[in-house]
């Protein structure tokens, strides 16, 4: 084995895989290259430094122990590579921080919505003052606002689901890259589970969703399916034209089973079609009506589905018509989720 131990000028450890039993050797070493016997085995160690850090190398590897010049070369290379290692470390850190910051920001926002929803129902100030039966007080407040309760509950449910989506996306794509866990699911049931979260958004905009009957079962990671459907429906609530119909149909293609979501929605320009699933891209028309998000929705859909070998296809202007409503162009767009046949149970 060859062990590395790297410290900065303040003797803080920057990197080390040196076992504790050798700490004493490290402390006492003051030369670039020397051999010693430890526990009956011959070892070689040495220290070398520059203005930024000090590198220490210890080995019991026979080839290296017997070749002082090779050892010296290794120590030198190790020290020379320190800036590169630091650079890699900082790049990894920046990358991870970007995703973590995004996750925290989104979770905080969703949590804020939940907090506000609850305190809007039961004012915090009154809760603070009431000294007698708090449960009774809450009960009365709820009774007073019964008509609002379905909306409040639906909002809480949707926010909670959104929080779960955030965890899933992070877990599957960025964090520890969790493994795909397939289970058998009825595709229509799974779809309805997500769709009902958007019930309120669709009814508010007078959009009717029509879903074909289907009994097909698919072996898939439920979290992946949930994330993909959630993002697609979330987009639909924003970009589908109000008073329109969304049609969801199922069909078996050549080597895939397809879920088609057809809707009259914001025009996707031809040059945008291939960019729309890229990280951070927002369509021009979405910006025009000021409903653009951070441009990660479809990117995430494509990425998570790929983990399960599932594809997303987007077909624009499927009926060759373009509807102009108050200066905004809408077209019949089709979002197709293609499940490879081997996932169909």
């Amino acid at each position: 084995m060859i062990y590395f131990h790297l410290t900065n000028q303040d003797e803080e450890i920057l990197y080390s895989d040196l076992p504790e039993i050798y700490y004493d050797k490290f402390q006492k070493c003051s030369v670039k290259n020397e051999t010693f016997v430890f526990n009956g085995n011959k070892h070689r160690h040495g220290k070398m430094g520059n203005e930024h850090c000090s590198a220490y190398l210890l080995t019991n590897n026979k080839d290296v122990v017997e070749r002082p010049r090779l050892f010296k070369e290794k120590l030198k290379v190790f020290l020379e590579f320190v800036p590169t290692i630091k650079n890699i470390e900082s790049r990894i850190r920046t990358k991870t921080t970007t995703h973590t910051t995004r996750l925290l920001h989104n979770l905080r926002t969703l949590n804020a919505h939940n907090i506000q929803e609850l305190f809007n129902l039961i004012p915090e100030s009154e809760l603070r003052q009431k000294k007698e039966d708090r449960k009774r007080f809450i009960e009365d407040k709820v009774k007073e606002q019964i008509p609002k309760m379905p909306s409040i509950i639906l909002n809480l449910m949707k926010n909670n689901a959104a929080i779960k989506m955030e965890f899933s996306v992070f877990g599957k794509l960025y964090g520890t890259k969790e493994k795909v866990k397939n289970q058998k699911h009825n595709i229509r049931k799974a779809l309805m589970n997500v769709l009902h979260l958007f019930f309120q958004d669709f009814t508010d905009r007078n959009i009717f969703v029509e879903i074909e009957e289907c009994n097909v079962e698919i072996s898939i990671d439920y979290e992946i399916l949930q994330v993909a459907l959630y993002q697609l429906f979330d987009n639909a609530t924003k970009y589908a034209f109000e008073n329109s119909n969304i049609k969801i149909s199922f069909s078996a293609g050549g080597c895939t089973f397809d879920v088609k979501i057809d809707m009259l929605s914001l025009k996707i320009e031809d040059d945008e079609l291939f960019k729309i699933t890229q990280d951070g891209f927002c369509g021009r028309n979405a910006k025009k009506i000021k409903k653009n998000g951070k441009g990660i929705g479809l990117f995430v859909v494509k990425q998570v589905l790929a983990l399960n070998n599932v594809k997303l296809n987007i077909l624009t202007r499927i009926d060759n018509e373009c509807t102009n409503i108050r200066g905004i162009e809408y077209e019949k767009n089709r979002f197709v989720i293609l499940f490879p046949k081997n996932l169909v149970v």
Binding site: K181, Q183, K184, M192, V209, E210, I211, Y222
Partner: protein, 191 residues
């Protein structure tokens, strides 16, 4: 009314329409009473039928719901999924804070066993806790479906165990996911 229905038939019989109707119908059915009755009937009849069940031919969902014994081992006995499963008809679902022997009566009687990997089996497996318990249960009772669930989903030991048990779930999985697993496994058990 008839006019209204015919004008709105597309909407009514589309997915959402049906969902709403079911929701409304559900609302008017006095569920609690019904659920209580089922629990009473089945709790009396269902102990020790494990062997008999295994040889039975295919059964429909209603039957499976009554015959399958589900056990959760979780130190958080307020874990509401148990109540949700009972409400949706899986009446023989029980939760136990911890177990001290693999021969525990409830364990022996269960067909499907959910094990929380944190905070349980401190006595039996002080080091590996639920992970150790789930592995040992699978070794001892290969015919039972063992599912582990937790909020922690990484680590080498966790991945080793994944190969051994029948499924894993995240603690924040939707009740649907728990029920879907139970449904899938109950079919396998009675096949």
């Amino acid at each position: 009314m008839i006019n209204w229905i015919s004008n709105n038939k597309e909407w009514l019989f589309g997915g959402i329409g049906v969902t709403i109707i079911l929701f409304i119908i559900n609302f008017f059915i006095p569920k609690n009473k019904k659920a209580k009755n089922i629990i009473n009937i089945n709790n009396n009849n269902n102990i020790g039928k494990l062997e008999e069940n295994k040889k039975s031919p295919k059964r429909d969902l209603g039957e499976r719901k009554k015959l399958i014994n589900i056990l959760f081992i979780d130190d958080d006995t307020n874990f509401k999924v148990v109540k949700i499963l009972i409400k949706s008809g899986w009446v023989n679902t029980k939760i136990k804070k911890d177990i001290y022997s693999l021969d525990d009566r409830l364990v022996k009687d269960s067909h499907i066993c959910f094990v929380d990997i944190q905070g349980v089996a401190n006595d039996l497996f002080p080091k590996d806790q639920g992970l150790g318990l789930a592995g040992a249960l699978k070794d001892r009772y290969p015919e039972k479906k063992i599912i582990v669930y937790s909020s922690q989903r990484t680590g080498d030991r966790f991945h080793e165990l994944l190969k051994k048990v029948d499924a894993t779930l995240s603690k924040d999985a939707d009740p649907y996911e728990f029920e879907n697993l139970v449904d899938n496994f109950s079919k396998e058990i009675f096949d």
